[in-house]
Amino acid sequence: MLRFLLTRLALIIPTFLGVTLMTFAMIRLVPGDPILLMYGERTVDESVYQKLKAEMGLDRPILVQYASYLNDMAHGNFGKSITTRTPVLSEFVTLFPATVELSLTAMTLAILIGLPAGIVAAVRRNTAFDHTVMGASLTGYSMPIFWWGLLMILTFSVWLGWTPVSGRMAVKYFIEPVTGFSLIDSYLAGDWSAFKSALHHLILPACVLSTVPLAVIARMTRSSMLEVLNEDYIRTARAKGLPPWRVVGLHALRNALIPVITVIGLQVGALLGGAILTETIFSWPGVGNWLIESIRRRDYPVVQGGILLAASIVMIVNLMVDVLYGLINPRIRKGH
């Protein structure tokens, strides 16, 4: 197990380097100059332009810039945003809890609904239930998230008035962030109406963000279950006279879960991607929103640091999934 873990950890280093190179190169390949964008239609004096360029370190050769960026990263220095002048790490730490809160809730919803739906659909294959679940999940998967989010807002917030339109908490509540998780912070402050408001605000964006992972999990669980249910050992279990819930719930599910867990791990990356759109529609102050804005402004330090931090989280989650995978399936950790 230790060897397995070490191998997986060692693999992170080249992936990490790859991410630094990609973000560094991509943001520079996109046309656009951060200083000119800052000035817009207004003319920037050549001497001022050169002065700012030197201050941002953009006048150095590209390789030197990359080397200094790598060196800074290695020392945990993510630099300062060229727009707001606040350290990238502190901006990330302020905004990331919002993204995690939203993504975790969405993922929980997706698993809680997707997994049972997939299992039941597999067990009751070719019934009306199966067709409904699969049809709905295909629709969910194909839905453009932006349109879907607006539709949900119009229905539940504007028309029915059940949920707030956007934000994390009604503006009347003023809870000092401690953990950055609005649910936890309002709970810690002992303010129940603020907690309710935070929960209220979380429902709609979490439902929208969970749509795609829910669909993927339901479909994956179904097909994986179907495969497992045809295995010999299931027939044996049934022949032994085990009650159906034990056959499905214990024997089949444990094996069927392996690909599903992989998919869940991969969906974490997809969730961060989906969060960008969901955060924009619901004015959710998370990292997605922040990165988009920084790309638009060519705020190099934020894009480089922010993407690297987000990518590190995805790598860690995937590592955890791999470990979990090994725990569930001994064949993998033993290298068979």
């Binding site: 996109v30 046309p31 656009g32 100059d33 000119l36 964008l37 800052m38 000035y39 817009g40 239609e41 207004r42 003319t43 920037v44 004096d45 001022v48 700012l52 201050e55 941002m56 060229i82 727009t83 707001t84 002048r85 606040t86 901006e91 302020t94 905004l95 919002a98 607006l150 807002i153 119009l154 917030s157 504007v158 008035g161 707030p164 339109v165 956007s166 934000g167 994390r168 009604a170 503006v171 009347k172 509540y173 003023f174 962030p177 109406s193 924009t280 529609i281 619901f282 004015s283 102050p285 998370g286 929103n289 922040w290 804005e293 060519r298």
Partner: protein, 530 residues
């Protein structure tokens, strides 16, 4: 409705609990984005100014609410010498600074604060010049560095600005956001504490509202400055709820979560007009969208060709197709809301036959080929440049001119345009200080010709500009600018497209909000019905 009432009741309860005042009033503004920072001297975006200079700071001179006229601000009065080179400001006494957790002011606003704020941007050896990246785009763009000779104080309440040359728009420039006054005492305290950047991150101003807290991309909270020099604001708590999507902003206004929003989606305008709880305010924007001809490149060196272009394109079709009605055809290079607008100038009518005749006279009976640059971004003066370019292209085709639409990424577009690579280009401008010079000279004067989109330098026109800069006599300047507009129309370096119309959905609970011609959002003076 019940939901809204419940929300309002809860809101009132929370505010009472928070501040222990039964009458605390809260106004929620659904702003369109996060500010880049809280020092207005370092940025150019209206979103940043709305969150920084307008609630938090003051300037020596202020714009009257809802107008482009100037009025006394931190300076009670000023005088300009005959030669226009020395301006003396008499400062207001008893102006209190905000206080925060880290700083409590020990003195009122005085001349040191004025000198500090300007010298910071002006002098590269100033201890604060490089703090927070040290960029001062407006200060540079308005040419302040070259204009200022010396700033000195005669006493604690008198500041004298000596200029290298007379500059008529100087007073109006002093009302611009970049000229906001920061506290020299706060700066010194932060420098001593080793945290100079706090001056810009945790602002202390003299303005009607003090910053309480800012959660990036979520919410900005302000509290009325209790000892504001012009009287405490009627709204006690001002909240900016940052909502980037225009349709979502409208949904929030409709649901009663916000009282006011900027930049509605044109597609939502009909629904907004029909909403009984909302007033849709509108006014003409202080901007101009234009199609400029590079007068250094053939065939646009010839006035007849430029005039032919003006006859060839149907302006009303652009207003309908691109502005969806939310635009006003532009005749002059300044919007009608600016003083000295010449109502006697007549626009070129849409007349393809006349255009063809002029082209033939200029030696192009069969037309010619040209490029037509279209911006890749939406701007207040041009909601859809590509669509506009297509409409123009189709009209040009009818007179035999083949236009090729060209576009680049925005920064690249501006860079190449300044280098003069284009033959013709779509661009525009939003006014900064309400002075005609800010359009007529900044965009069309000979000083600007090295980088302007038309690269037009016409001596008779420029002479008028220079004369107008030398005098502060408004009547005289009006006369000069009116003449300049006649020359502009005749010489036709641009095809003036449109001035956009600005819309603001405002809840009927809001009392006395006024649309600023600059597009500012100012909440001092605004009240709200309980």
């Amino acid at each position: 409705m019940k939901f809204t009432q419940g929300l309002a009741a809860l809101g009132a309860a929370a505010v009472i609990a928070l501040y222990g005042q039964a009458s605390a009033k809260t106004l929620v503004f659904c702003s369109e984005g996060s500010p880049e920072g809280f020092n207005p001297a370092m940025y150019t975006a209206g979103t940043t100014f709305d969150a920084s200079s307008r609630p938090i700071y003051n300037r020596l001179v202020e714009f009257e609410r809802g107008s482009t006229k100037t009025q006394p601000g931190l300076a009670e009065a000023w005088s300009v010498t005959e030669d226009g080179k020395i301006i003396t400001f008499a400062l207001r006494r008893g102006v209190k600074w905000h206080s925060s957790k880290t700083f409590t002011p020990t003195r009122d606003f005085n001349a040191d604060d004025v000198i500090f704020s300007f010298e910071r941007a002006w002098k590269s050896d100033h201890p604060f010049n490089k703090v927070s990246a040290g960029k001062y785009p407006y200060f540079d763009d308005m040419g302040m560095g070259k204009l200022l000779k010396v700033i000195r104080k005669a006493d604690d309440y008198t500041v004298i600005f000596e200029l290298n040359n007379p500059e008529a728009p100087f007073i109006a420039n002093m009302a611009m956001d970049f000229a906001s006054i920061q506290s020299a005492e706060y700066a010194a305290a932060m420098l001593k504490a080793g945290t100079p950047e706090k001056l810009d991150l945790e602002p202390i101003g003299t303005g009607p509202y003090a910053l309480v807290s800012y959660q990036k991309d979520a919410v900005i909270r302000y509290k009325a400055h209790p000892t504001y020099w012009s009287g405490k604001a009627k709204i006690d708590d001002l909240v900016y709820s940052i909502t980037k999507d225009a349709s979502v902003r409208w949904a929030k206004v409709k649901a009663g979560e916000c009282h006011l929003m900027p930049y509605p989606n044109p597609a939502d305008l009909d629904a907004i007009r029909k909403d009984p709880n909302v007033t849709l305010m509108q006014s003409e924007g202080l901007n101009i969208g234009y199609w400029a001809f590079n007068t250094e490149k053939k065939p646009f060196t010839d006035k007849k060709v430029r005039q032919a272009m003006n006859y060839a394109v149907n302006k009303q079709a652009i207003i309908d197709a691109v502005f969806l009605g939310a635009g006003k055809p532009a005749i002059n290079p300044i919007p009608p809301t600016i003083w000295s607008y010449n109502t006697e100038v007549k626009d070129y009518p849409y007349d393809p036959a006349k255009a063809k005749a002029l082209l033939a006279e200029a030696g192009y009976p069969n037309g010619f080929e040209t490029d037509l640059w279209a911006m890749p971004v939406q701007r207040p003066y041009n909601p859809n440049a590509k669509r506009m370019a297509e409409v123009i292209q189709a009209d040009l085709d009818k007179v035999g001119v083949k236009a090729k639409i060209v576009t680049y990424e925005w920064a690249e577009y501006l860079k190449r345009a300044r280098a003069g690579e284009q033959q013709t280009i779509l661009l525009g401008w939003t006014g900064d200080n309400g002075d005609p010079d800010n359009f007529l000279n900044v965009l069309l004067g000979c000083d600007a010709a090295k980088t302007s989109s038309s690269r037009w330098c016409f001596k008779p026109y420029d002479d008028l500009m220079q004369q107008a800069r030398q005098t502060s006599d408004i009547a005289k300047r009006t006369d000069l600018y009116k003449k300049a507009q006649v020359i502009f129309k005749e010489e036709a370096p641009w095809y003036t497209v449109a001035h956009s119309v600005v819309f603001k959905p405002v809840s009927k609970k809001v009392i006395d909000f006024q649309i600023s011609p600059f597009g500012h959002h100012i909440f001092y003076g605004v009240d709200i019905k309980e």
